[in-house]
Assembly symmetry: C2
Homo-oligomer: 124 residues x 2
């Protein structure tokens, strides 16, 4: 086989806290911001799924050629969860995260990143 | 607002190593196994996206009412990455993981789980 994915990918798991209700209930803005952010970092969007919950809450999931990115909102806590996993490179996702912070304006964020090693022979 | 999500959800990030090529190239089995697993744990599937890469590799993403679950395969490394995030309860995903292990038969797995706190006032 000639094609090989990078042996190490990156995962971002993040909660945005103190996001305004105006932004959290603007599903078009959230969806548009994530799509813009993904394009800005050169990710290729293959498919998107979304769901508006009753009485509130919005989920958005983008399948990308480099893996996936998701947002789930929690207006009852003024928060949202953002996840991204990219198997393209071990530092991926920082441009997406920066763009989302600018657009969705959380007062603080709880961020965790993790390398994902898919090659069993890769030595860290 | 009366409806409130659980203040704490759970995230599973897992790589299955040494999965057989027969299984990794059986996209129907992988997709079916994750759907079965999600139903077994009582998750509600809202939408699914998938993509078959050339010359190899398969991505599958399920948007669920409780958040999302994904699988990305790497036949070149005999591995796959499985992610699940559920905002329903802080112990979610174990039944899904067990079912996937039974069906996809990795020789070993690299597993990380993490609580995701969406309520800024929740005390651990």
């Amino acid at each position: 086989m000639e094609y090989k994915t990078n042996p190490v990918g990156n995962e971002i798991s993040c909660v945005f806290h103190n996001v305004s209700n105006e932004i959290l209930n603007n599903h078009r803005l959230i969806k548009g911001s994530l799509i813009e952010a993904l394009k800005k970092e050169g990710f290729t969007i293959l498919d998107i799924s979304s769901h508006e919950f009753s009485p509130q809450g919005f989920s958005f999931c983008a399948l990308i050629a480099e893996s996936h990115a998701t947002i789930h909102t929690y207006p009852e806590y003024n928060s949202l969860a953002f996840h991204l996993y990219s198997c393209r490179s071990p530092n991926d996702g920082q441009i997406v995260l920066k763009h989302l912070k600018e657009k969705l304006k959380p007062e603080r964020i709880k961020l965790a990143t993790k390398k994902v090693i898919v090659d069993p022979n890769f030595k860290t």
